[in-house]
Amino acid sequence: MELLGLLLLAFILICALAVCLTRNLMVSIIILMSQSLAMSVVWILLESPDLAITEAAVGAGVTSLLFFVTLKKIHAIEGENKDGKAEK
Protein backbone atom coordinates (compact mmCIF):
# COMPACT_ATOMS: atom_id res chain seq x y z
CA MET A 1 0.00 0.00 0.00
CA GLU A 2 2.74 2.38 1.03
CA LEU A 3 4.68 1.66 -2.14
CA LEU A 4 1.60 2.24 -4.28
CA GLY A 5 1.07 5.60 -2.58
CA LEU A 6 4.65 6.67 -3.23
CA LEU A 7 4.45 5.57 -6.85
CA LEU A 8 1.25 7.53 -7.36
CA LEU A 9 2.72 10.64 -5.76
CA ALA A 10 5.76 10.39 -8.01
CA PHE A 11 3.45 9.98 -11.00
CA ILE A 12 1.48 13.07 -9.97
CA LEU A 13 4.62 15.17 -9.67
CA ILE A 14 5.96 13.94 -13.01
CA CYS A 15 2.61 14.81 -14.56
CA ALA A 16 2.81 18.31 -13.09
CA LEU A 17 6.25 18.87 -14.57
CA ALA A 18 5.17 17.43 -17.89
CA VAL A 19 2.20 19.77 -18.06
CA CYS A 20 4.53 22.73 -17.63
CA LEU A 21 6.97 21.54 -20.25
CA THR A 22 4.76 20.31 -23.10
CA ARG A 23 3.94 22.75 -25.84
CA ASN A 24 0.84 21.05 -27.13
CA LEU A 25 -2.18 22.21 -25.15
CA MET A 26 -4.21 19.08 -25.91
CA VAL A 27 -1.44 16.88 -24.52
CA SER A 28 -1.14 18.96 -21.39
CA ILE A 29 -4.86 18.67 -20.72
CA ILE A 30 -4.78 14.91 -21.20
CA ILE A 31 -1.90 14.79 -18.72
CA LEU A 32 -3.95 16.84 -16.28
CA MET A 33 -6.80 14.37 -16.69
CA SER A 34 -4.57 11.39 -15.90
CA GLN A 35 -3.17 13.28 -12.94
CA SER A 36 -6.70 13.73 -11.64
CA LEU A 37 -7.32 10.00 -11.96
CA ALA A 38 -4.15 9.25 -10.02
CA MET A 39 -5.28 11.76 -7.43
CA SER A 40 -8.58 9.97 -6.98
CA VAL A 41 -6.73 6.71 -6.32
CA VAL A 42 -4.58 8.56 -3.77
CA TRP A 43 -7.77 9.62 -2.05
CA ILE A 44 -8.90 6.02 -1.83
CA LEU A 45 -5.56 5.29 -0.15
CA LEU A 46 -6.20 8.16 2.27
CA GLU A 47 -9.57 6.59 3.14
CA SER A 48 -11.71 9.38 1.71
CA PRO A 49 -14.09 7.72 -0.76
CA ASP A 50 -16.26 10.85 -0.97
CA LEU A 51 -13.34 12.78 -2.35
CA ALA A 52 -12.34 9.98 -4.68
CA ILE A 53 -15.77 9.79 -6.30
CA THR A 54 -16.01 13.57 -6.58
CA GLU A 55 -12.54 13.93 -8.03
CA ALA A 56 -13.15 11.18 -10.56
CA ALA A 57 -16.42 12.76 -11.67
CA VAL A 58 -15.27 16.37 -11.56
CA GLY A 59 -11.50 16.53 -12.04
CA ALA A 60 -11.16 13.76 -14.58
CA GLY A 61 -14.66 14.19 -16.01
CA VAL A 62 -16.31 17.54 -16.18
CA THR A 63 -13.26 19.82 -15.84
CA SER A 64 -11.42 18.00 -18.61
CA LEU A 65 -14.51 18.09 -20.79
CA LEU A 66 -14.73 21.84 -20.29
CA PHE A 67 -11.07 22.19 -21.24
CA PHE A 68 -11.64 20.10 -24.38
CA VAL A 69 -14.65 22.07 -25.49
CA THR A 70 -12.73 25.29 -24.91
CA LEU A 71 -9.90 24.08 -27.12
CA LYS A 72 -12.40 22.96 -29.75
CA LYS A 73 -14.07 26.34 -29.68
CA ILE A 74 -10.74 28.07 -30.03
CA HIS A 75 -9.90 25.95 -33.06
CA ALA A 76 -13.33 26.73 -34.45
CA ILE A 77 -12.75 30.45 -34.02
CA GLU A 78 -9.35 30.11 -35.60
CA GLY A 79 -10.77 28.18 -38.55
CA GLU A 80 -13.48 30.78 -39.01
CA ASN A 81 -10.85 33.46 -38.95
CA LYS A 82 -8.80 31.72 -41.62
CA ASP A 83 -11.89 31.17 -43.76
CA GLY A 84 -12.68 34.84 -43.46
CA LYS A 85 -9.20 35.77 -44.55
CA ALA A 86 -9.29 33.36 -47.48
CA GLU A 87 -12.55 34.85 -48.66
CA LYS A 88 -11.08 38.28 -48.52
Binding site: A16, S36, S48, D50, L51, E55, V58
Partner: protein, 124 residues
Protein backbone atom coordinates in the same frame (compact mmCIF):
# COMPACT_ATOMS: atom_id res chain seq x y z
CA UNK B 1 14.09 18.86 8.12
CA UNK B 2 14.70 16.20 5.48
CA UNK B 3 13.92 13.32 7.84
CA UNK B 4 10.66 14.88 8.85
CA UNK B 5 9.75 15.48 5.25
CA UNK B 6 10.48 11.92 4.20
CA UNK B 7 8.19 10.66 6.91
CA UNK B 8 5.30 12.66 5.50
CA UNK B 9 5.49 11.95 1.76
CA UNK B 10 1.94 13.10 1.04
CA UNK B 11 2.44 16.55 2.50
CA UNK B 12 5.86 16.95 0.89
CA UNK B 13 4.48 15.99 -2.50
CA UNK B 14 1.53 18.29 -2.08
CA UNK B 15 3.79 21.25 -1.28
CA UNK B 16 5.97 20.57 -4.33
CA UNK B 17 2.83 20.32 -6.44
CA UNK B 18 1.62 23.60 -4.95
CA UNK B 19 4.89 25.28 -5.87
CA UNK B 20 4.69 24.04 -9.46
CA UNK B 21 1.05 25.02 -9.81
CA UNK B 22 1.50 28.43 -8.25
CA UNK B 23 4.50 29.20 -10.44
CA UNK B 24 2.69 28.22 -13.59
CA UNK B 25 -0.34 30.27 -12.57
CA UNK B 26 1.94 33.24 -11.99
CA UNK B 27 4.47 32.97 -14.79
CA UNK B 28 3.06 30.92 -17.67
CA UNK B 29 2.00 33.15 -20.52
CA UNK B 30 -0.57 30.84 -22.05
CA UNK B 31 -4.07 31.18 -20.56
CA UNK B 32 -4.85 27.45 -20.76
CA UNK B 33 -1.58 26.62 -19.03
CA UNK B 34 -2.37 29.16 -16.35
CA UNK B 35 -5.74 27.54 -15.68
CA UNK B 36 -4.15 24.10 -15.60
CA UNK B 37 -1.64 25.47 -13.10
CA UNK B 38 -4.48 26.81 -10.99
CA UNK B 39 -6.12 23.38 -10.99
CA UNK B 40 -2.90 21.74 -9.88
CA UNK B 41 -2.40 24.30 -7.14
CA UNK B 42 -5.87 23.70 -5.77
CA UNK B 43 -5.61 19.93 -5.86
CA UNK B 44 -2.27 20.25 -4.05
CA UNK B 45 -3.96 22.11 -1.21
CA UNK B 46 -6.70 19.50 -1.08
CA UNK B 47 -4.10 16.73 -0.93
CA UNK B 48 -2.43 18.53 1.96
CA UNK B 49 -5.70 18.87 3.85
CA UNK B 50 -6.75 15.26 3.23
CA UNK B 51 -3.35 14.04 4.39
CA UNK B 52 -3.85 16.02 7.60
CA UNK B 53 -7.04 14.07 8.31
CA UNK B 54 -5.64 10.59 7.71
CA UNK B 55 -4.92 8.31 10.67
CA UNK B 56 -2.96 5.08 10.27
CA UNK B 57 -5.02 1.92 10.32
CA UNK B 58 -8.45 3.52 10.49
CA UNK B 59 -11.29 3.34 8.04
CA UNK B 60 -13.28 5.83 5.98
CA UNK B 61 -15.90 7.76 7.99
CA UNK B 62 -18.93 5.75 6.95
CA UNK B 63 -20.55 3.99 9.87
CA UNK B 64 -20.36 0.22 9.47
CA UNK B 65 -22.39 -2.13 11.68
CA UNK B 66 -23.30 0.69 14.01
CA UNK B 67 -19.78 1.10 15.38
CA UNK B 68 -19.42 4.74 16.44
CA UNK B 69 -16.19 4.88 18.36
CA UNK B 70 -13.47 7.39 17.62
CA UNK B 71 -10.88 4.66 17.19
CA UNK B 72 -12.62 3.22 14.16
CA UNK B 73 -12.66 6.12 11.69
CA UNK B 74 -10.41 8.84 10.32
CA UNK B 75 -11.07 12.55 10.83
CA UNK B 76 -14.05 13.56 8.65
CA UNK B 77 -13.49 17.35 8.77
CA UNK B 78 -10.80 17.65 6.05
CA UNK B 79 -12.93 15.58 3.67
CA UNK B 80 -15.81 17.99 4.13
CA UNK B 81 -13.60 21.02 3.58
CA UNK B 82 -12.07 19.51 0.45
CA UNK B 83 -15.52 18.68 -0.96
CA UNK B 84 -16.47 22.33 -0.60
CA UNK B 85 -13.16 23.38 -2.10
CA UNK B 86 -13.53 21.15 -5.17
CA UNK B 87 -16.85 22.81 -6.03
CA UNK B 88 -15.22 26.21 -5.75
CA UNK B 89 -12.35 25.26 -8.03
CA UNK B 90 -14.69 23.81 -10.68
CA UNK B 91 -16.71 27.02 -10.69
CA UNK B 92 -13.62 29.18 -10.99
CA UNK B 93 -12.21 26.97 -13.74
CA UNK B 94 -15.37 27.26 -15.83
CA UNK B 95 -15.43 31.03 -15.42
CA UNK B 96 -11.77 31.31 -16.43
CA UNK B 97 -12.33 29.11 -19.48
CA UNK B 98 -15.29 31.24 -20.54
CA UNK B 99 -13.08 34.32 -20.22
CA UNK B 100 -10.44 32.59 -22.33
CA UNK B 101 -12.95 31.86 -25.10
CA UNK B 102 -14.10 35.48 -25.14
CA UNK B 103 -10.53 36.76 -25.15
CA UNK B 104 -9.60 34.47 -28.01
CA UNK B 105 -12.63 35.51 -30.02
CA UNK B 106 -11.55 39.10 -29.66
CA UNK B 107 -7.75 39.05 -29.82
CA UNK B 108 -7.04 35.71 -31.57
CA UNK B 109 -4.27 34.69 -29.22
CA UNK B 110 -3.93 32.89 -25.92
CA UNK B 111 -0.79 34.69 -24.76
CA UNK B 112 -1.81 37.01 -21.93
CA UNK B 113 1.11 39.41 -22.50
CA UNK B 114 0.23 39.76 -26.15
CA UNK B 115 -3.44 40.24 -25.25
CA UNK B 116 -2.54 43.01 -22.83
CA UNK B 117 -0.39 44.71 -25.45
CA UNK B 118 -3.17 44.45 -28.04
CA UNK B 119 -5.70 45.88 -25.59
CA UNK B 120 -3.40 48.81 -24.83
CA UNK B 121 -3.02 49.49 -28.51
CA UNK B 122 -6.69 49.30 -29.43
CA UNK B 123 -7.86 51.91 -26.92
CA UNK B 124 -5.36 54.35 -25.44
Amino acid sequence: MLENLLQTPYETASIILFGIGFTSLMLQKNMIKKIVGFNMMDSAIYLFLAAKGYIDGRKAPIVVNGVTSVEAYINPIPSGLVLTGIVVSVSVTSLMLALTVRLYRRYHTLDIDEITALARKEEP
